[in-house]
Structures are given as structure tokens and as C-alpha cells.
């Protein structure tokens, strides 16, 4: 494996370590007694206080506490929710598929529209088509998505009555959770009506979540294509007698996609931010809504664990994207 790939992988370790340290400090930096924070607002008995103090090791020196926390994290123990007493990791893994399903559909939607739109804008540069695409993507890029969500609900759910207002599935359907992906689970259950109901519920949240990535990827594709279309090798491709379609979609797009893929990868962070807002508005039972509710309830173990897991996820995706960047870029791939 090329050395810089290895270097890139090794960089994950200090970053992950830093995230662990940050979440460790989270509770200890909060004003007030950390044990009371962990115990929640309702107060605790003296025994419970001592129990918690021992459980979290607050009687130990900070260094020991951190070592212990790190050990627990590495063993997959992220503590229990103060409110539900369920292990944080368990709650996370129950809710994560809902977020992942929404985020995947959103990013697929965004990529499927953004790349052709960006290419079209670049090819039709300075025409009305280009100006329209650029204007729409700029508005999308500037959109407060929580407002956008409300507008869509107002139009499609309230006024037209075409779309459900909230949730993942109508309560009349009882679908066994196998994969956690509603679209797949309804198909496994063989319930066609439930499947379409799930699709129905997914449409508005997916559009909302896709909005910003769609705008960002369109802008990036356009500018990357404009840059690539100026290159000498595009002239060579035309001189070969290739059709304009091949020139654009084979020779130009292949090179333009290198920065675009990086940008698509960077959307993970934007998607997670969007998920918190989108899930809250559409009552989508995912980790975004879960985390926000934990903040409202001052459920610190959930906040701590949730932040750790989401940040870990973002780091993971960013690393994969970096590696992918090297793999799709021949001039980097061959370096020793």
C-alpha cells in the first residue's frame, strides 16, 4: 500500500482519540455536579449518588477516569440512558437504520440530479439553462432547510393532502424489523401497501435532506466540468472523432468526478446536521431526533455516546473518501 495511504489511515487514530477525549470532557466541563447531570433532573438518593459516583469513577483521579472511559468505549460500552436505562449503543443501533435509510435516499437523490444538472450547466455555459441551474442551486445552498420542510408540509400535506405529515409508516401496518430499513423490511414482509406507504413517508424528508447536498454537488460539478472542458485532452478527444456525448460523459466527467466525489463524501457531516432538523420536523425516529431529545432531557450519557458515534461515523466516511480519492486519481495512485 502506498505510504501516504497508510499515513492517512494512521491519522484516524489521533483524531478518534481526540473525539473520545472531547466527549469525556463533555460531562466534566458542564457546570454543576456531573453526577447530578448523569442522574437527571429528578435528583437522587444518597445511595444512588454513591453508586453512580463509583460506577463512573468520579472518585478517581481524572487520568484514571479517562483511561477507564477509553477502555469502556473500546469495548463498546457507552453507558446507559438516564431516562430509559437502555444501553446507549443499543438505542443507537435501533435508531440508526432509520437515519441511514433517509440519508442514503437523500444523497442518492442529490447525486442523481446534481451531476447531470452540473454537467448541463457547464456544457451550456452562460445560457439561460446555465443561469437557471446556477440560480436554483444558489437558492438551495442558502436555504434554511427547517423552513423549507415547513413549506413543503404546508403545500403537500396541509393544502394538497398528498403527503403524510410525519413518521416512517402508518400505524395500521405492523412490519417486523429485520434490516431496520423500512423499504426493505416491508418488501421482506411482502406487504406491497406498506412498502408504498413507506415510500410515501420518505419523500418529503428525503427532499428536504437532499436540498443542500444537491446544491453543493451541482455547484461543484459545474465548476469542475468548466475546468476540465478547457483542458487540451478534451480537444484531443474531439479530434479522435468521438461524439460530443462521449467527450463530455467519458473524457470530461471522469476527470471532473475526482473533486466531485470528495465533495459528496464531505456531505456526511451536512447530512447529519440536516438529519437533526429534518427528523425533528418530520418526527422521523432516527438518531438526529434521538440526540436532540436527549439534549432537551439533559440525558448526558446519550449526548456523550451519540456525539462520539456520529463523529466516529463522519471520520470513517471522510477517511474512506480520502482513500477513494487516491484510488480514482491515477496520478496519485502510482506514487510510491
Amino acid at each position: 500500500m502506498p505510504q501516504h495511504l497508510l499515513h492517512r489511515l494512521l491519522l484516524v487514530i489521533p483524531t478518534f482519540f481526540g473525539i473520545v477525549a472531547l466527549t469525556f470532557l463533555l460531562i466534566r466541563l458542564a457546570p454543576g455536579d456531573p453526577i447530578l447531570l448523569i442522574a437527571g433532573e429528578h435528583g437522587v438518593s444518597a445511595e444512588r449518588y454513591a453508586e453512580l459516583q463509583q460506577q463512573f469513577g468520579f472518585d478517581q483521579p481524572l487520568f484514571i477516569q479517562f483511561a477507564d472511559y477509553l477502555w469502556q468505549v473500546l469495548n463498546g460500552n457507552l453507558g446507559r440512558s438516564v431516562v430509559t436505562q437502555t444501553p446507549v449503543l443499543e438505542e443507537f443501533s435501533n435508531l440508526f437504520p432509520a437515519t441511514l435509510e433517509l440519508a442514503l435516499i437523500a444523497i442518492i437523490l442529490a447525486v442523481l440530479i446534481a451531476i447531470p444538472a452540473g454537467v448541463l450547466a457547464a456544457v451550456k455555459r452562460n445560457t439561460i439553462i446555465d443561469h437557471s441551474i446556477t440560480a436554483v442551486s444558489l437558492v438551495g445552498y442558502s436555504m434554511p432547510i427547517f423552513w423549507w420542510a415547513l413549506l413543503l408540509i404546508l403545500l403537500f400535506s396541509v393544502n394538497l393532502g398528498w403527503m403524510p405529515v410525519a413518521g416512517r409508516l402508518n400505524f395500521i401496518y405492523d412490519i417486523e424489523s429485520v434490516t431496520g430499513f423500512m423499504l426493505i423490511d416491508t418488501l421482506i414482509a411482502g406487504d406491497k401497501d406498506a412498502f408504498f406507504d413507506a415510500v410515501h413517508h420518505l419523500i418529503l424528508p428525503a427532499i428536504v435532506l437532499a436540498t443542500i447536498p444537491l446544491a453543493v454537488i451541482t455547484r461543484m460539478t459545474r465548476s469542475a466540468m468548466l475546468e476540465v472542458l478547457k483542458q487540451d485532452y478534451i480537444r484531443t478527444a474531439r479530434a479522435k472523432g468521438l461524439s460530443e456525448f462521449s467527450v463530455i460523459f467519458k473524457h470530461a466527467l471522469r476527470n471532473a468526478l475526482i473533486p466531485v466525489i470528495t465533495v459528496i463524501g464531505l456531505q456526511t457531516s451536512i447530512l447529519m446536521t440536516g438529519a437533526i432538523l429534518t427528523e425533528t420536523i418530520f418526527s422521523w425516529p432516527g438518531i438526529g431526533k434521538w440526540l436532540l431529545e436527549a439534549v432537551y432531557r439533559r440525558d448526558y450519557p446519550v449526548v456523550q455516546g451519540g456525539v462520539l458515534l456520529i463523529a466516529g461515523l463522519v471520520i470513517l466516511v471522510n477517511t474512506v473518501v480520502d482513500l477513494l480519492y487516491v484510488l480514482i486519481n491515477p496520478s496519485l495512485r502510482q506514487q510510491k
Binding site: G18, L22, P31, L138, S142, V158, S269, M272, L277
Partner: protein, 298 residues
């Protein structure tokens, strides 16, 4: 004046004048600047512009629609909210929160970002590595999530939200400054300044900063729109400004339940956010084209 005249004119200009000439020809960016200026002026002169006190409740005129709809009340041309407060006055006062907070947040992030980034770029070595790792960690946490964590720790208030957003924006400034400083440090003019005995903060402020300001200005403009969006989002989630503060995101969130009966209470604050963010993005894009710094467009 013909195009040819403009192009010959450019040769006699200072870099900043040249930027201004290029910027002026970009009508869209100029429009963004104009809209922002109008918003800033209305925010400053809000007390003179508004028709009512933004907190005054006209309990007999609840949820009055704006002037174009049936049943609108004279004197409340953008209607009233659920407590009978004048929407127009609340929106104008809301501009104060968004714009001034936006400036404050970006200034804070810019100041500390430049300081930390310059230290990393000038000192190099272990300190630089530690700073960069730290920024990587901050970038790995989604913006709103990091803000949520900070607000969760310090409690929900406008000031805490602003601080959180400022911290979220910090890493971008640190990275840009560090990269620019490293590039400039190898240039001859910096060497000559060093030979003249200029070092440390003096070298940074007198020699380096004027030459690395282009990417920082562009990043500031783009961060400004992000700051406004994030503040509004936190307000909407109930983690920023608290009612009855007429901050736009908070207005939106408290009107949410009336979306069916009084949609204008939801559409108007959102439109205000969109217009402000759009204007500053237009300005940022225009500045980027005019200054042409080689920074990541995102």
C-alpha cells in the same frame, strides 16, 4: 465607457482598486451587497422604521393576515402573530439579531482563527500538528451537533448559541490562515522583512496579513451566511434565542403550530432568513471571483 477602456484602466490600479473594478462588473454580486446594505440599514434604524413595538400585543387583532389577503388590518401590513404582535416590526428587529450576531460570530472566529492559524503556520513543528489534529476533530463533528453539545453544556441562550457557532466556524479560518502563512513565509518579501528584524506578531500583522487577506475575506463572507443559518436553526430547535425574542429562527419555531391557520407567520421569517443568506452568498461568490483566492469553494 467601453470594455477596452476598462481593461487598460486596470493597469494603473492598486490591487484593491482592481478588485473593485472586477467586482463592480459583477451585477449579481453587487445586488447581494445592495440587499445586505439595505438589511443592515434597516437593522440599525429599526426603531425609526417599525410601525409598532415588536413586543406590544394587540390582543384583539390575533393572527391578522398580511395586506394582500382578505381580512387584513390596516396598520399591520405584514399581519400579526398569535399574540397580536406586528409581524413587520418583529421581522425588522429580527434583522438586528441575525446580522449583528452574524458579524460578531464571524469576527470572533476570524480573530481567533487567524491567531491560531498563524501560530501553526509560523512555528510549525509539534504545535502545528496538535493544532491541525484539533481542528480535524472539530471538523469531524457536524456543525449543528457541536453547537448542540456546547449549548447542552452551557444552557440554551442566544449568547451560548453564538459562541457555539463561532467555535464551529473557527477551524476553517485556522486552516486557511495556516496554509496562506506557510505559502507566504517562503516568499522573498517576507524574508526581507525578517532580515529587517520583523518577527512574531509584528511580522504577522504588518507583513503577512495584508497578503493573506483575500482568502480570509471570502471565507468571512461565506461564514457570515453560515452563521446566520446556524443561529436560526438553533433558534428553531429552541437551543438559541428564547421567546419572546424576535429572532427569525425563534419566530419560525413559535409560529409552527399556526402554519395551517396563519401560514404567513411561518413563511415570512423564513423568507427573511433566505434573503439574507442568499444576499451574503451572492456577495461571497462575487468576492471570490474578483479576488480569485485559491481556496476550496465549500
Amino acid at each position: 465607457m467601453s470594455k477596452a477602456d476598462t481593461s487598460t484602466e486596470i493597469y494603473d490600479l492598486t490591487p484593491w482598486q482592481e478588485t473593485w473594478v472586477k467586482f463592480r462588473t459583477n451585477r449579481i454580486a453587487a445586488l447581494g451587497l445592495l440587499v445586505l446594505l439595505i438589511l443592515i440599514i434597516s437593522a440599525i434604524f429599526a426603531p425609526l422604521l417599525v410601525t409598532h413595538d415588536p413586543h406590544e400585543q394587540f390582543t384583539d387583532i390575533l393572527l391578522a393576515p398580511p395586506f394582500w389577503a382578505d381580512g387584513s388590518q390596516s396598520g399591520f401590513f405584514l399581519g400579526t402573530d398569535d399574540l397580536g404582535r406586528d409581524m413587520f416590526s418583529r421581522l425588522i428587529y429580527g434583522a438586528r439579531y441575525s446580522l449583528f450576531l452574524g458579524f460578531a460570530i464571524v469576527s470572533l472566529a476570524l480573530f481567533f482563527g487567524v491567531a491560531i492559524g498563524a501560530i501553526a503556520g509560523m512555528k510549525r513543528g509539534l504545535l502545528e500538528t496538535v493544532i491541525l489534529r484539533l481542528m480535524d476533530i472539530m471538523l469531524a463533528i457536524p456543525a449543528i451537533l457541536l453547537a448542540i453539545v456546547i449549548v447542552a453544556l452551557l444552557g440554551a441562550s442566544l449568547m451560548n448559541a453564538a459562541m457555539a457557532v463561532s467555535i464551529v466556524l473557527l477551524p476553517h479560518f485556522v486552516r486557511i490562515t495556516r496554509a496562506a502563512v506557510i505559502t507566504e513565509m517562503n516568499k522573498d518579501y517576507v524574508l526581507s522583512a525578517k532580515l529587517d528584524g520583523s518577527r512574531g506578531w509584528k511580522l504577522l500583522f504588518q507583513t503577512l496579513l495584508p497578503n493573506i487577506s483575500a482568502p480570509l475575506i471570502v471565507q468571512s463572507t461565506l461564514s457570515f451566511s453560515n452563521a446566520i443559518l446556524d443561529i436560526a436553526a438553533l433558534g428553531f430547535l429552541g437551543l438559541g434565542a428564547q421567546p419572546p425574542t424576535p429572532e427569525w429562527g425563534t419566530l419560525l419555531s413559535s409560529s409552527r403550530e399556526f402554519i395551517e391557520v396563519a401560514p404567513w407567520t411561518v413563511t415570512l421569517p423564513g423568507l427573511a432568513i433566505l434573503i439574507t443568506v442568499l444576499a451574503s452568498n451572492l456577495l461571497g461568490d462575487g468576492l471570490r471571483d474578483a479576488l480569485d483566492p485559491r481556496i476550496d469553494p465549500l
